[in-house]
Symmetry: C2
Subunit: 313 residues, 2 copies
């Protein structure tokens, strides 16, 4: 049996790491020779989680070949968010909670998607359906992923299934008070002062192709938006530099206060007018737009942008 | 709640009809307002099945709007195989057992795919996972779909899951001897003499875009390949006429003997040399290639063709 690598998207967040470990374990029980890997170093939040549950961070890989030509994807499907040699690989399994875009296969495969707040929630269902027990430490990682993706169930992406899965995983992981744990975890991931401007704009960034434009969207979680505002000129400069280097037409940074569930959107590039239309709102002279109540890139940012920039979709 | 239409691919076969009815019923139990419809009239085999289990053929629709803008797809995902206004619709659910190609959404959705022999097999799993009983007549349709897609479990697409599902569905449907029923059903669908040349080449045809070429692949089930060979000049002429009208670069007709599991492949158009490479075989002067043991378009025809015509995929 060919070995298969299992990984989440580039710039891995807690869900990308937890779901990779969760799916690798589940499929191993089904007889696959799997290894969970990561497409980059873990962030501060994920490091907190791995340390807390005593799990080693997955090995970082740049490409799958020549190790293997078979892979399983979690928490993403769009090729530009995936491993560098994705076009040469056979994807045998996908577990994801995002829109489907640019994903093409030559053969039938296992694809499991649901519009839940977190990929680890789908995995929790799959374990249950197959009657396989989730090991305690993996349940801890998957619980943390749900807290991370839904901002402690406060994001509008949250579904009743996420709530149930979070409670079930907390029980397995032996975490009595997941709210208390979750706030500690979220804070561990928001130490903005410790990060360079480049680290900030790269940390949770994803690339999209919308209406032929290369669009980059980063999200920064904070506990005080002032931590971003005081560095705005430097952050915008880093966004401009990277846009030139990487050929982005549009670079957006969504800075989200995880305690109040409000965001600011920083823009570099064009089409600015369509972004304003998408949110029915204006950028101030400093290129920042207030977005009260917006916390989800996937549900509250990408869909309205897609509608304006790529109305064919 | 918006009404949602549930349908399989154009030129519906038994699985496209059975899976649409099966998913519409399942999702109705989950609270969705669903109606199973069809993108064309049912074929002779499906008519036999519907008559046998006393189920009315689904209403035929050309487009979903203005009836609704939400749909669920079964047994396909590629837009050229779907409803005419698919680009303007929101797909909320997909259940499919084919490769994924050209499928794009703006938002997350439910997507359930597995590389099984039949879409109705995946549905059987979903009913079981959700603990919902399959009504007797729907079990009969889904059982028939598995027999149809796997040619009574003889196609190489057949998995152990298909076998188990077929037996379970036969039990629910009250069919004691599914082999006997299945041969009657397959024969009902192979009355080639009753069909015009155009009906033959359209009957189970699907469109693909491979390496920028418009490729049309039809499959005709027969109990005697001589029924096709005696009409070969007329069939090729009909393929040529339709290729011109519909702008197909390559038209392939796979004539399959369902009793012996052998096929003949008829070609009109180009690139002929790459098709020969794909099957490591030659077309005779009459543009027919023998393909012993080939019965599955999905597993034995589309993948080698894709590899030759669209090596990027």
């Amino acid at each position: 049996m060919t070995k298969e690598l299992v990984f989440g998207h580039k710039n891995p967040d807690t869900d990308a790491i937890a779901a990779a470990i969760g799916l690798a374990y589940l499929e191993k029980q089904d007889g696959y020779d799997t290894e969970a890997v990561a497409l980059g170093p873990v962030n501060a939040e994920t490091k907190f989680v791995l340390d807390y549950f005593g799990v080693k961070a997955p090995r970082i890989v740049e490409a799958a070949r020549p190790e293997t030509d078979k892979v399983m994807l979690v928490d993403h499907n769009e090729p530009q968010q995936s491993i560098s040699d994705i076009a040469e690989l056979t994807v045998t399994h996908v577990v994801d909670h995002h829109r489907i875009s640019g994903f093409e296969t030559a053969k039938p495969l296992y694809y499991r998607a649901a519009p839940y707040g977190c990929c680890s929630t789908i995995l929790t269902q799959m374990y249950s359906e197959e009657g396989i027990d989730i090991p305690k430490e993996i349940a801890g990682l998957m619980m943390s992923a749900i807290i991370s993706d839904t901002l402690l169930l406060k994001s509008p992406t949250t579904t009743a299934i996420d709530r149930d899965a979070l409670q079930a995983l907390a029980d397995i992981a032996g975490v009595d008070n997941y709210e208390e744990y979750g706030i500690k975890m979220l804070k561990a991931g928001t130490n903005v002062d410790a990060k360079s401007d480049k680290e900030l704009i790269d940390g949770d960034a994803k690339s999209f192709v919308l209406g032929g434009k290369n669009v980059r969207i980063d999200q920064i979680n904070v506990v005080d938006l002032e931590d971003i505002n005081k560095r705005l000129p430097e952050i915008k400069k880093a966004m401009e530099t990277e846009s030139k280097e990487e050929n982005y037409d549009l670079f957006l940074v969504l800075a989200t206060n995880v305690l109040t569930s409000n965001s600011e959107l920083i823009i570099v590039g064009e089409p600015k007018d369509l972004v304003e239309k998408a949110f029915n709102n204006k950028f101030a002279d400093n290129d920042v737009m207030n977005l009260p109540g917006v916390v989800s890139r996937k549900k509250q940012v990408v869909p309205p942008l897609t509608e304006q920039l790529d109305p064919e979709k």
